[in-house]
């Protein structure tokens, strides 16, 4: 089975978000980056399917030069090779442009299964995978919590709202977007990290792929959200804060 896994590099969870000079994006100097969390689950799922059914796992990213560390991590965990569509624009491209780039690169090769995360931790659009499927003419299913491949079909457990699920069966080839928690992700071993150095990484520029670069949506301005409720912040030593909180809960809110 030829499996492509789309992995995006995002600012690390703990990074302080600072709005950039022109107010339309965040500063990325001096912050740490990591692989988008749902994508790590997608990669793990791809590796498990390959281990069961044979074939190949290809990690694909569209991102600036720094995103190569996300590909290296995927290779160290066991991906066979990687594709890097390298362009600074992908640090903040809209989903249409990103999906078009991924479609152009993946569409050149035979593919049985494409996996993406369900949502990116930075932009949080939650749509790149589905757009990619449509561009490649593939059926898709989202928010997947289990995949069984057999007889040219994928039988999937799809998460619905409020703790409900549903089985969705799709013909191969297909695209699935993976929900966090579908599996337990592996760590890269020292051996894996060594081997990764010799694995092939194919690089494309946007021009190589000839993609449509007209954005369909544009972030005009980023800003701190307004406070919805009047929050009363309690200050002091841990003991003082504990005393204050409990007395507020007893006598002001009257909930304990």
């Amino acid at each position: 089975m030829k499996i492509f896994v789309c992995v995006k590099q995002v600012m690390s969870r703990d990074a302080a978000v600072r709005v950039d000079g022109d107010g339309s994006w965040v500063r990325d100097d001096g912050v740490a980056f990591e692989t988008n969390e749902p994508d790590t689950f997608a990669l793990e799922e791809g590796l498990r399917l390959r281990e069961k059914h044979g074939g190949e796992v290809v990690a694909v990213t569209a991102g600036p030069a720094r995103a190569s560390s996300t590909l290296r991590e995927a290779l160290a965990k066991g991906a066979d090779r990687a594709i890097h569509i390298q362009d600074n624009r992908f640090a903040r491209a809209d989903t249409h442009i990103t999906a078009a780039a991924l479609a152009a690169a993946i569409g050149r090769e035979p593919h049985d299964l494409i996996l993406t995360g369900l949502q990116s931790d930075d932009a949080g659009y939650g749509q790149t995978g589905v757009i990619l499927a449509e561009m490649l003419g593939l059926p898709h299913a989202t928010i997947i919590m289990k995949i069984e491949a057999s007889g040219g079909q994928f039988r999937c457990k799809r998460e619905l709202e409020a703790g409900w699920f549903q089985t969705v069966t799709l013909p191969q080839p297909a695209l699935l977007t993976i929900q966090s928690g579908i599996n337990k992700v592996r760590y890269a071993t020292l051996m894996g990290i060594k081997k990764a150095r010799r694995k092939p990484v194919r690089r494309y520029s946007s021009a190589d792929l000839g993609i449509d670069t007209q954005p369909r949506q544009e972030v005009q301005r980023l800003y701190q959200p307004q406070q919805g409720k009047q929050t009363e912040f309690l200050e002091g030593s841990a003991r003082e804060v504990a005393d204050q909180l409990l007395s507020k809960l007893r006598f002001e809110a009257r909930v304990i």
Binding site: V17, D94, T95, L118, D122, A123, G124, G126, Q127, V130, I131, E134, M135, P139, A141, T142, I143, R158, E159, L160, E161, A162, G163, W164, F165, Q166, T167, V168, T169, L170, S180, G181, Q214, P215, R216, Q217, E218, V219, Q220, R221, L222, Y223, Q224, P225, Q227, G228, K229, T231, L234, A238, R239, V241, A242, D243, L245, K248, L249, A253, V255, I256
Partner: protein, 326 residues
């Protein structure tokens, strides 16, 4: 030119966010000075269409086909493409549900236009919409504008618009039935009936006090600390999704869009960032306390009492003080 709202129902019962989307649609149509249609898709949707027609709408569009009885991305996208071809709307609004996550990006890609997902607000400049959406895990808000040719597609977050503000019309809106041709091979996926895994062992919806832990608790060995606080307060222990995903607490203690919805008197969030998927499950709580070391964490937007501190400093003190007062 019109605005089109797409409603959602499950086997004849409205998804509760549908009327919030209708409310958003009424605001948009007024600002854009155009008519407002609302679509209902499914099989045997006559009753729903009639119900929807009571709202102040220019028309209801009913797309009825046996193949649409259950949701499928292929079937529903085909149905809505037909509605778009017929109505030529400038703006299509959806409620942001799991089904819409599955459907709207496909629809947008198939007509080559924008899908602005999960908007928490909307305003208009020169008759053109500007959507507000959360980014960077809710730490920032963004003004997002659709680009390129219409129809622009957007979805509105649960709770962003009030269902009660969806006004009724003076008389029933006309219902237009759109016929679509769907063959056997047009829907490539097969879907089963919704089911639940082992039904919730604990029902947290009745709890008066909930102490909830997030990733800030760091490791499973620290869970007993939160447990001790829950016990001292006579409350239940709950968690954000990553804690349950990691198996540190059972799945039936997860709060949020994919877990339980609760509204206790007191919800104490320890090391929880306040992502929208968590917040929808607990924002109805009477009093919300957040302990988080990041003053920019979005949980503070909904907290009544905020403590910007390390939970490992504060929680033991809370347990200590509660112990003294017994």
């Amino acid at each position: 030119m019109s605005v089109l709202v797409v409603t959602e129902h499950h086997r004849g019962t409205w998804h509760r966010i549908s009327m919030e989307a209708v409310a958003a649609g009424q605001q948009a149509a007024q600002a854009m000075q155009c008519s407002l249609a609302a679509a209902v898709v499914g099989s045997d949707v006559g009753g729903l269409a009639g119900d929807l027609a009571r709202k102040r709408l220019s028309e209801v569009v009913a797309i009825d086909h046996p193949q649409l009885a259950a949701y499928s991305a292929d079937g529903y996208a085909a149905a809505l493409r037909k509605a778009i071809d017929d109505l030529r709307p400038r703006l299509v609004l959806f409620p942001h549900t799991y089904q819409v996550r599955d459907l709207a990006p496909k629809l947008a890609a198939s007509v080559g236009t924008a899908f602005v997902s999960d908007a928490v607000g909307m305003r208009f400049e020169g008759g053109e919409p500007i959507f507000v959406r959360q980014m960077f895990q809710g730490k920032l808000h963004a003004d997002v504008v659709p680009r390129g040719a219409p129809p622009h597609i957007a979805s509105v977050q649960s709770g962003a618009f009030r269902a009660e503000s969806a006004a009724d019309g003076d008389g029933p809106a006309p219902v237009r039935r759109l016929a679509i041709a769907l063959g056997e091979g047009d829907v490539r996926s097969q879907t089963g009936q919704p089911y639940q895994d082992a039904k919730d062992a604990v029902d947290l919806s009745a709890a008066k006090i909930i102490v909830s832990v997030g990733r800030g608790i760091r490791e499973p060995g620290n869970i007993p600390l939160a447990e001790a606080l829950a016990r001292a307060l006579g409350g239940e222990l709950a968690a954000s999704r990553p804690i349950c995903d990691s198996g540190w607490l059972p799945l039936d203690r997860q709060i949020g869009s994919s877990g339980q919805t609760v509204s206790p008197d007191l919800y104490l969030a320890l090391g929880i960032s306040g992502a929208i998927q968590h917040v929808v499950g607990m924002k109805g709580s009477k009093t919300i306390v957040a302990v988080n070391k990041d003053s920019g964490a979005p949980i503070f937007e909904i907290a009544d009492y905020g403590i910007v501190a390390d939970l490992f400093d504060v929680v033991p003190k809370l347990v200590e003080v509660l112990g003294e007062s017994d």
